[in-house]
């Protein structure tokens, strides 16, 4: 308790000292942000500057982030699939629909109504990344929530039909590859890695911002695939009745 008291007081002093040096609320001093705000619409024909930053001006950073997600999902898959021995496989069929038979009719009907809306919002957010807030990542996670609602409706096996392992894995890999290809196309067609190589179009139109649409779609595919692979692994872990724990 004494130790905690001393630590708390020390932390408080440092915190107040640090906070007192911050600029006042609403006063932004960064030069980079102001430059981006100034040139985004005129140079890149994109009205959402966050997307312009992620998929064009700073596209290389996004490539790194892309592969962080890819690598971490790969790690989850590696660890969980090794934990799940071969003897667990056949028993998966026992853990089918009756496990979640508790889902009521109302819940099922509601999920059915919600799924198309979720998918529509997800796709909208992916393709309108350069116009309104959103983009590949945000749209991707929303899309991944769709199959999850199928699971919520009590249909584990149905979810596996909607989002089978192989399909989501291919989707994830194709998205990651697609994003890298967007960068490579810039290298080949415009001379610089991730340089915008497509015509910029008219600011405010759906097909504006050049490569941003392509990059956004690739990231959307990758992110939704990654989330579904991870969810799928976790679901398998929870649904499959494990074999003898001593083996």
């Amino acid at each position: 308790m004494v130790l905690f008291g001393v630590a708390a007081v020390g932390f408080g002093v440092v915190l107040v000292y640090g906070l007192s040096g911050l600029p006042a609320f609403g006063h932004y001093h960064g030069v980079y942000g102001k430059v981006i705000n100034g040139i985004g619409v005129t140079e890149r024909h994109a009205t959402d500057l966050v997307t312009a930053l992620n998929f064009d001006i700073r596209g290389f950073d996004t490539l790194g982030e892309e592969f962080i997600l890819f690598g971490s999902v790969l790690g989850v898959v590696l660890i969980l699939r090794q934990m799940r021995g071969e003897h667990d496989r056949p028993r998966q069929h026992e853990a089918d629909e009756h496990t979640f038979a508790g889902a009521s009719e109302a819940l099922r009907a509601l999920s059915l109504a919600v799924i198309p809306a979720i998918l529509a919002i997800g796709i909208y957010i992916v393709v309108h990344g350069q116009l309104t807030p959103g983009g590949g990542f945000q749209g991707g996670v929303i899309l991944a929530a769709g199959p999850l609602v199928v699971f919520l409706a009590g249909r584990y096996l149905r979810m596996r039909i909607v989002a089978p392992h192989t399909l989501v894995e291919i989707g994830e890999a194709a998205g990651a590859l697609g994003y890298a290809l967007v960068g490579l196309s810039g290298l080949v067609l415009a001379g610089v890695f991730f340089k915008n190589f497509l015509p910029l179009g008219i600011a405010g139109h759906l097909l504006s911002g050049g490569q941003m649409d392509l990059a956004s779609a690739a990231v959307g595919l990758e992110v939704s695939g990654a989330f579904l692979v991870a969810f799928g692994e976790f679901l398998d872990q929870a649904m499959v009745v494990s074999g003898s724990p001593r083996s």
Binding site: L148, F234, P245
Partner: protein
């Protein structure tokens, strides 16, 4: 700072405390997802809609689902172990 921003900050402060205060993991997960909703509001009123959009799915749906599945797995293990023990004794 507007009233909305102050309200969102207050909701996040209360929510963070509530997550720590809920001791039962199952309840904690549900409180966490409500806390995620408060965070989404915070990002939104501070004019970061891009972050809010990712936060709304990740923290209100994604993270709780993963924690719930992990909890279920832990329960399965416990039940299995208890069953084994009773079998050994009999």
């Amino acid at each position: 700072m507007t009233i909305l921003q102050i309200a969102a900050l207050a909701a996040v402060a209360v929510g963070g405390g509530a997550v720590v205060a809920a001791r039962d993991p199952l309840r904690q997960t549900l409180v966490l997802s409500i806390y995620g909703m408060a965070l989404t509001m915070l990002f939104f009123v501070f004019q970061a809609p891009d972050v809010a959009l990712s936060e709304i799915v990740v923290s209100t749906v994604g993270l709780p689902v993963m924690i719930l599945l992990a909890l279920r797995k832990v329960h399965q293990h416990q039940r299995q172990r208890e069953r084994d023990r009773t079998q050994d004794e009999s």
